[in-house]
């Protein structure tokens, strides 16, 4: 874990409200897929957390959607400007050698950590199917999709890929092609909850990356909790520390 200034070397609009920011300067130790960085944005008090979407040599990338004040300011950043970031933070996606048939299912910017994961896995002897759900064709960040991977798209308006929600596509795919060894997910809570259902229904382990507003990002403030099942019931656990990646079977959804 480090706190350091990263230099923006690229900040590109990929699709509607969707941006890719690349930094010069990686962290020690290097980030793993599922981990995030916590970025200080001028004029805002709280840092903003973003999953690492890629990391190569001395470069690190995040994929972000403009949804409010902080991301609006980010979108205006130019190459050469610096941002202070703390990272890498949180737990990464667990990867086991024997999982050879892997599904990645991401909605919106929830694909960010999955792209990084796909990149890491694609060197190995693993079959990857990447489900990508978006509002419409205009929201899809085609440029960052890694090559050589089987993509299944859904859009809410049917303007690209199947019309409908992503979980349906995953279920349908399982019906036709059989169960994977593991499912990794990212995106809106509704989607992740459904991935949990799929995990249960088909007895496939599933790991998802949760999001929440954060203050410290490092496990010291208890600001970012979610309900996690324990022996006796449930407890609020820290998304930034015990997560952001959780086994869906442990998550108690509201």
């Amino acid at each position: 874990m480090e706190a350091k200034n990263l230099t923006v070397c690229r900040n590109a609009r990929l699709a509607e409200h969707l941006y890719l920011m690349e930094f010069e300067g990686a962290f020690t130790p290097p980030a793993l897929p599922g981990q995030f960085i916590h970025i200080k944005i001028d004029g805002l008090f709280l840092r903003r957390p973003f999953s690492v979407a890629g990391q190569k040599n001395n470069r690190l990338a995040i994929l972000y959607k403009v949804v409010g004040k902080g991301t609006e300011i980010l979108a205006r950043k130019k190459g050469g400007e610096t941002l202070n970031a703390i990272g890498p933070l949180g737990k990464s996606f667990p990867v086991i050698k024997k999982w050879k048939n892997v599904y990645l299912a991401g909605g919106g910017t929830g694909i960010a950590p999955l792209i990084f994961l796909a990149d890491k896995l694609s060197g190995e002897d693993v079959k990857i199917t990447f489900f990508y759900g978006a509002k419409s064709r205009g929201c899809i960040g085609f440029e960052i999709l890694p090559a050589g991977i089987n993509f299944v798209f859904t859009t809410e308006d049917g303007s690209y890929g199947d019309k409908g929600l992503l979980d349906r596509a995953v279920c349908g795919f399982i019906g036709k092609n059989g169960r994977p060894d593991v499912i990794y997910g990212g995106g809106p809570a509704g989607l992740l909850k459904k991935i949990g259902r799929i995990s249960e229904d088909f007895s496939v382990p599933a790991f998802v990356s949760l999001e929440n507003r954060m203050a410290c990002g490092t496990g010291i403030c208890y600001g970012c909790v979610t309900k996690i099942k324990t022996g006796s019931g449930w407890e609020y656990m820290r998304i930034c520390k015990e997560g952001p990646v959780f086994n869906t079977k442990d998550i108690k959804w509201d």
């Binding site: 008090f45 709280l46 490092t218 403030c221 600001g223 609020y236």
Partner: protein, 316 residues
Amino acid sequence: MGLNTLGVKIGGLSLNSPVIMMSGIFSYGEVVLDYLDYKKLGAIVTKTVSLEPRKGNPQPRVWEAPSGMLNSIGLQNPGIKAFIKKGLPAVRKNGIRIIVSVTGNSAEEISGIVNLLSAEKIDGIELNLSCPNVNRKELMAAQSPEMTWLLVKAAKKECGRIPLIAKLSPNVTDITAVAAAAEDAGADALSLINTVRGISVDVEKMRIMEGGLSGPAIKPAGLRAVYDVFRKTGVPLIGMGGIASGRDAVEYILAGASAVGVGSGFFSNPFLVDEIYRALGDFLKNNGIKKLSCASGLLNEKEKKQAGQPRRKRKV
């Protein structure tokens, strides 16, 4: 700057540094942050612990505000017994001085917790009086001099030689009355201020976030509390509220604080502890002041001197 220059005594507790990590900011002290220079921390105050475990509030618990943040963590904690068994040993490993923050709904509860802690190897107890009390649902103890007196008294009876710090709330008509009550009941030092009550409205999601405001937005209120309480009491003050730079810390010292508390500013600036430590040292050097304690309340004293009053002797 040598340790001696910046060393301070607060309510009988000797600290190598006047920079204290405040309650709720740093978990129980068990988390290790690689970028933090622990040697520059005088002590840490744990997240507040209660008699029984508490689950805490539902999300969202934190929210952006102008020059600050709102939080409603809801005192999530494992309860005093689990804390003593599991939490405390983990904290001790880090070798830093520990002040345990406790709270309770009644004098009995406070007595019980402090009694349990009094046998432990800890450096201080901070009484968080900003939780709603049982009798008058909407008020917190720190909003009433009487309740404050009662709870501080109960804690003081049980804490033995462990220094007792009372933490006050700014959500009052007259904080000096509450401070006087806490001093009278035996508090060895006072921490001020806790968060300011506030709400934020999410227009998109049409919902309200209620919580405590912290950060630079409350700095004028925190400085005001320290400045006013300094004149009305004789115990050392730990000043906090919106400290986000070394200069802010200097301001608190000049207004009357003996030590300064790092709060939510640490979330913004991971180097805040180092910056404060350096700034306080530089301030002393540049002004030819020998010890930090000589700078505490300098502006208060200056004002008094102008009014022809003698310098008040303070406890340490």
